[in-house]
Structures are given as structure tokens and as C-alpha cells.
Amino acid sequence: MHPARALLWHSLAGAGLCLLATGCWRGEPAAALAIINGGEPESLDPAIVTLAADMRITKALFEGLLRLDGRTGRPSPGWADSWDISPDGTVYTFHLRTNAFWSTGEPLTSADVLYSWRRALDPATGSDYAGQLFYIHNAEPFYLGKTKDPAQLGFSAPDARTVRVELEHPVAFFLDLCCFPTLAIVPRRALAAGGDRWLMQRPLPSSGPYELVAWRLNDRVRLRKNPRYWDAAQTRSALVDILPTASPNTALNLYQTGAADIIWDKDLMPLELMDVVRRRPDFHNFSFLGTCFFRFNVTRPPFNDPRVRRAFALATDKTRLTRKLTFGGERPASHFVPEGVANYESPPGLAFDPPQAKQLLAQAGYPDGRGFPRFQFLYFSSAGGAKIQGQLAVELQQMWSENLGVQMDLRQIERKIFYNAQSRLDFDLAASSWVGDYNDANTFLDMFTSTSGNNRTGWKNAHYDELLDQANSLVDIPRRAGLLRQAEDLLVNQEAAIVPLYFYAGFTYFNDAHVHGIYPNLLDEHPIQDIWKN
């Protein structure tokens, strides 16, 4: 071979090998625990995250005044080890731990709390969940730019170890909110230095039980135990990999071959295998705070008539849905707020009653479904557990054709387009679901107030808004529950703006001979620091 050409080939081959070495060889130590958590996290910034799966990771990195207990799912001390609540329920005084430090060793003080909350309330942060802070005095006007002075905000720090919070009105679930990622404590210096890319800095000060070692998109988030965390003695696994997974089959393969220890995302279990998988001892299921339902677009005839909507609700056999389609222990739902929510009991909902449904439909002018216009059921395409939407749609189509004599078309579209269509009220009926942000009926019921962005039905009811407003200004738990109950009755029984189908069941998939520290609770809350493998 010509020397020049030989040189060219050798250098090409050399470059290729170097590239391959950097591209596919990492030589990192194996993690003590690998969890298949969900899709690739959009963000790990607690002020920005919106998905439950992403929040599980941010909770390991950044903690707030309180945290949720892994056994009960109820608020328990975090960076605040005690707190006082004024008798009228509007002033909370939190006392921070005396030896509070960031993972990098700087002291963690009440100023950090104020900074973090102000940041979440800054429109420039672009926090979806800024509304979680609007219960605090002057927080909403501050967000809207009506009050510019941060000193006017209802939270202050009388000293380095105390945070005083003044609410607009008593909030029964404020301690739950204090556990929410939006209110977590974030590192001011790193944020100032890093901008949107602040999480890329090393060392990154963390306030949670773990530090961020690596975050590679579609590869893994690697967490290392934070030795300066206040409860570090209870952190069970030193190095944890959080694996994002795009395909349910791959997730199960990884689990089967031991590359992952836990799968806890409903959408990452192949729906086709659910019936097999749920019989295995690795399958642990529990009821949790989520409801599958469908929405009416009440602005379009014939669904602007409550009688028609009620007829549809009465003609829906929810037991048939859970018996035929869902396999994870889901329970039929006649009301919207899931069973077991704190301090609340829902009113009995509409039962399955085809004769009454037919009668109502006849009253509305469509005896035996005659003359009823064709309409569409909208749902989105997806892999894994969410695929069930399509099966639900087919089942409902058949059910209503039998029980009401109406013809429904199915329309499946892309997820983003689906949510866009829902927001623009460009649908007749739309498959929907809701998972509670905190353990209180309000996280479900306030979706359907006239001003809520999550309403997406066109249903506006002044009486409903008033009931919710009134309820949320009360400290008296039974009276508050009574008002909320009236509101829910209005929503699902009298007006039937939505039809609840079933309550979700959560599941975690792991071998309990080896993996410990995962407990069932209503909030599907499984703090990573509690979990270990032997």
C-alpha cells in the first residue's frame, strides 16, 4: 500500500476507535439500586417539574420544610423540625433544624426558603405550579405584578431559623403543600451562576437526601447519598440509578435480566402482559389518589343538556370496564374524589341504571336514541398502560349503543394535539384522568371551578365556585367537608359535567425478597432514600 494512503487508513481507524471508546465505554461503578421511573425527566428543577415521575427524583435532590412520609404518605418534618399554627389557621411558624447544611457544606437558613419561594413566584422562572403558592398572602398579586415589593409577600424570616407564613385564608392542606416540590429549597448561588443550566454544575448543592452525580438524557440520572442531609443516617442506598425508559417491553426485559430492580410507572408495563404480570409475587398494588373519567364539552349540543349527560352517566356500566379491561385492582367510580382521601367522604354517585338513562334521554327529546346526532370520543395514542384509553373508548361505544341506542365515533390523536384540542373545547367527549397533587379533596374539586385552566369542559357554575370558596375559608373540618360534598354532588350527579369511570390502582413491581422499603400509600409516595436491596 502507498505510504500516504496507509497513513490515511491508520489515522481513520485510530480516530474511529477513539470515537467508539468515548461513545460507548464509560466504566462507571454499578449502582446499588436501579429504578425504572418513567420517561426522560423534562426537568429536575423543583420549581419547573410537572410530572409525578420527575417529582420523585427532585424530591430526592431538593427538600422543603416538610416531606411526605414513605409509609403513610402524610406530611412529616423535613428541614423544619417543628411548627406552630395560629388558632384561626392562617399563620404558620416553622422552626428550622439547628444543624442544617447544604450538601456542599454551606449553612441552610430561612433566607434560602424565602429565596426559593420567591423564585417560584417569579414569572421569569416559568413555574407551572406557581399556583401552589397562591394560598399565601399577596402571592398571587406578586406573581401578576400588582405588588412589586417582595416584603409584601406573606412569608418572612424573623431569624435565620424561623419562617413565618401568613395565608390568605385557612388552608386545610397547607402542610401537604409544604411537601410539594414547588416549595422545595433550592440553592441560590448555583441558580445565580448557572441560569437555566444550573443543574449541570458540580458540585451542585442539594437539600435532599441525594446529590446529582450525572444526568444524561435517555440514559440515566445517577444519585449519590448526600452525607450532610439531616436524616442521612436513614438513607439506605448510597448510589442509585434512575432509568428513563421509552418502551414498556424494554422496561420489563431490563427487570427480568436484573438490570433494573424496580418498575413503578404504570405506563411502563406492557398492557398485553398485565394479566400475567399481576399474578406474580413481584406485583404489589395499592389504591391511590387518581381517577379515570371522561369529560363532556357542555358548550356543544346535545351535551349542553344536563339530562343527556346524566343519561350517559347512568348508562355507563363501570363494573364492566374494570372487570373486562383493567387488571391492576382498579375500583369502579361513581364519584370523582377517590375513596380514602383525608377528612372527606364523597356523596354517592349515579349508579348504573339503563332504564332511567333511557327515560332521561327520551325527556331530552331522543327516545331510544332516535335523532341523536353522531358524536366523537376523543383520546390520545400512547404506549404501555395508557393504551387502555382506546379499549375504554371501544367498550363505551358498545355500551351506549346497547343502552341508549346512540352511535359514537372514535377519534384517536397525538397526545399534544389532544391536550390542545381539550383546551380549545374542540371535542364532544374526551378521555381524561387526574391524579391528586396532595391528599385533599380540593386537588380534585378545584379543577372544575369556572376559572381553572384544568376545567376544559366549558362547564361554569357560580354555585359550585361559591361552595368551593366557602369551604376553603373554613377551619372546621366537618363543615368544610359538607360544603365540598355539595359541590361534588353538583359536579357529578346533578350536572354531570364529567363521568367518573374508575379509581386508579397504583402498583410497584419489585421482588420483596431482595428489595425493601417500599410501602403502599394513597399518594404513591416512595421516597428513594427509604429503599434498599440486599
Binding site: T22, G23, A124, G131
Partner: protein, 318 residues
């Protein structure tokens, strides 16, 4: 001829600009925006703030000018200042820039792609050669059958089959993830086999064409050995169709494969190429389209250069 190649190179800029404009318009024309999600913020103002942060509330043309970093704006003090370019901000992965994402994913896709490319050539060329050299014999039929099945079985089917046999049954290779050479083998086969089949077929056709040429008859008449004729004289020209196919193919494998990356959970570009548009992550989609476009242009240019090296009769005018 150098002038010809320089001219081709100079066209890259305008072409990529047109590409960026077209893809920018297309992604924005698709219904559903980056912030259309299951959960909407509690107040409409929060949603407005979100759109304003990423300038999605501005007219499209203004957004495009901002994307390029050519927008001049008055700051609060009244001075005209150039607004920072927005091409680098991912709307979905808000803690990463587009460059961050490409920097993480490109090396992975490059190694996977390059290895698959080498695998495809390593399997395809000998197979095509064998097929042509043993034309009409059982080896030809066997090789042709293999090549045809490789082309017909898509990665979507091949990959799970490989995983089932080699990972789940025999536990020889991991089922997925990325991080060591053993993770690479199954994806390389799953990605490269199709191309190996195409190459084998192309090379066989090329060889058979060339073997009818007059200079081969001359070589035979001069008494050259058959192997010398095939290896030295025929294959050099027969490889030309493979070379012209190799350019786009390389661009294809280097930018990753959505199917293979999904099935093996490989953190490459292919996942981003598809997901970014599903996520309405406008800037990432356009950024990746530009990367793909640039790579395609560069590799086509490279193919033309290789043509000159392989076949001296090829000349490029002007």
C-alpha cells in the same frame, strides 16, 4: 475541480438557512404546542408567563429572526440591543440546551452508526462478492436469500428476536442500556443487517455489470487469473453504486435510529429526532433537522470526492 468542490461547500450556508426556515415553519404549523399538557397551570397568567418566557406569544416571523439571533430589541432603558438567539433553548428539556443534548447523544449515535456501517460493509461486500463470483451456483442463491431476508426483516422485528435469543434465553448480551462494549453488539447487528443486505445486492449487481465490460474480456484474454480480475479490476468499479448509496446511508445510521434506540434504550439522536417533534420542542427539532441536513450535505460531497478517487474517468465541471 477544486473550484467545483469549493462552490459546493459555499452552498451549504444558504441551503441550511432555507432548511432552518422551512423546518421552523413546519414545526410551528403542527397543532399542539410545547406547553399543551395534561395539567394546565392554576391561572391563565401562569400559562402566559410560560409562553412569554420562551417568546412563543410573538409573531412567527419575529420568532424566527430571534431564533437566528438577528433580532434587535429595545431594553427597559430604551437602548437597542441584540436579543440573544433562541436556537439553543430546548422547550421540553428546560435545563438543557440544544447543544447539550446533541453533545450527549451524537457520540453515542456516531459510535453505534459507524460500527453498524462497518458491520454492513464487512458483511455486505464479501457476501455480494461471493454471490457474483459464484453466479448461478448454490452459494449465489444462499447469499442472495440471506441478503433479501436481511432487507425484508425490519429492525422492529429483528431487534426483539435478537433480544429474545441472545439476551433473555442465553444471557450473552444485555437487553439494553449503554455503557460497555457488550451493550453495542446486538444494536449494531439489528441496525446494520438491513444495510448489509442492501450492500450485498448492490455490490453483486455492480460486479455482474462490470464483468461484461470490454476491459475485463481484455484482461481475461491477457491470461490474468480470475481472482485478480475480480478483486483488482472488477470490484473497483463495481463498488461505485455501493459508494453512492453509502453516503446517505451513513447519514442515516450516524443520526441514530428511533426504533433501535427505543428498543435497546440507547441514549442516541434517533430518540430525540422523533420525540422532539412529538413533544413540540420546536428548537430541538429544527436543530436536529439542521444537523441531519448538514451531515447529509457533507456526506454527499464526500461521496463525490471518493468517486473521483475510485474512478479517474469521473470529472466534475465548473
Amino acid at each position: 475541480m477544486t473550484a467545483y468542490f469549493l462552490k459546493r461547500l459555499a452552498w451549504f450556508g444558504p441551503l441550511l438557512l432555507v432548511l432552518s426556515f422551512l423546518s421552523f415553519l413546519l414545526v410551528h404549523a403542527a397543532p399542539g404546542g410545547p406547553f399543551d399538557r395534561e395539567r394546565r397551570p392554576a391561572a391563565p397568567e401562569i400559562e402566559h408567563a410560560l409562553l412569554a418566557k420562551y417568546h412563543l406569544d410573538e409573531p412567527l416571523l419575529k420568532q424566527y429572526v430571534r431564533y437566528l439571533g438577528l433580532l434587535w430589541e429595545r431594553d427597559p432603558d430604551g437602548h437597542w440591543r441584540r436579543a440573544p438567539a433562541s436556537f439553543n433553548i430546548s422547550l421540553k428539556y428546560r435545563n438543557h440546551t440544544v447543544t447539550d443534548i446533541i453533545k450527549q447523544a451524537l457520540p453515542v449515535s456516531l459510535s453505534l452508526g459507524l460500527l453498524s456501517f462497518l458491520f454492513a460493509l464487512g458483511v455486505g461486500l464479501p457476501l455480494g462478492f461471493l454471490s457474483a463470483a459464484r453466479r448461478g451456483q448454490w452459494a449465489d442463491y444462499a447469499a442472495a436469500f440471506f441478503a433479501l431476508s436481511a432487507v425484508c426483516v425490519p429492525g422492529l422485528v429483528l431487534a426483539p428476536m435478537l433480544v429474545m435469543v441472545f439476551s433473555l434465553k442465553w444471557r450473552l448480551f444485555p437487553v439494553g442500556l449503554w455503557g460497555s462494549p457488550s451493550h453495542v453488539i446486538l444494536p449494531v447487528i439489528a441496525l446494520g443487517l438491513y444495510f448489509a443486505g442492501r450492500i450485498a445486492r448492490l455490490f453483486r449487481e455492480g460486479m455482474l455489470d462490470v464483468l461484461h465490460a470490454e476491459f475485463i474480456t481484455t484482461a481475461r484474454a491477457k491470461g490474468l487469473r480470475e481472482t485478480t480480475i475480480l478483486l483488482k479490476h472488477a470490484s473497483r468499479l463495481a463498488v461505485l453504486p455501493v459508494v453512492s448509496y453509502a453516503g446517505p446511508m451513513l447519514a442515516d445510521v450516524l443520526t441514530g435510529s428511533f426504533v433501535i434506540e427505543t428498543l435497546f434504550q440507547i441514549p442516541g439522536l434517533g430518540l430525540h429526532l422523533v420525540n422532539s417533534s412529538l413533544n413540540a420542542d420546536y428548537t430541538l427539532t429544527v436543530g436536529l433537522a439542521l444537523l441531519y441536513g448538514g451531515l447529509l450535505l457533507a456526506l454527499n460531497l464526500l461521496v463525490d470526492l471518493v468517486y473521483v478517487l475510485l474512478d479517474r474517468r469521473v470529472m466534475y465541471e465548473r
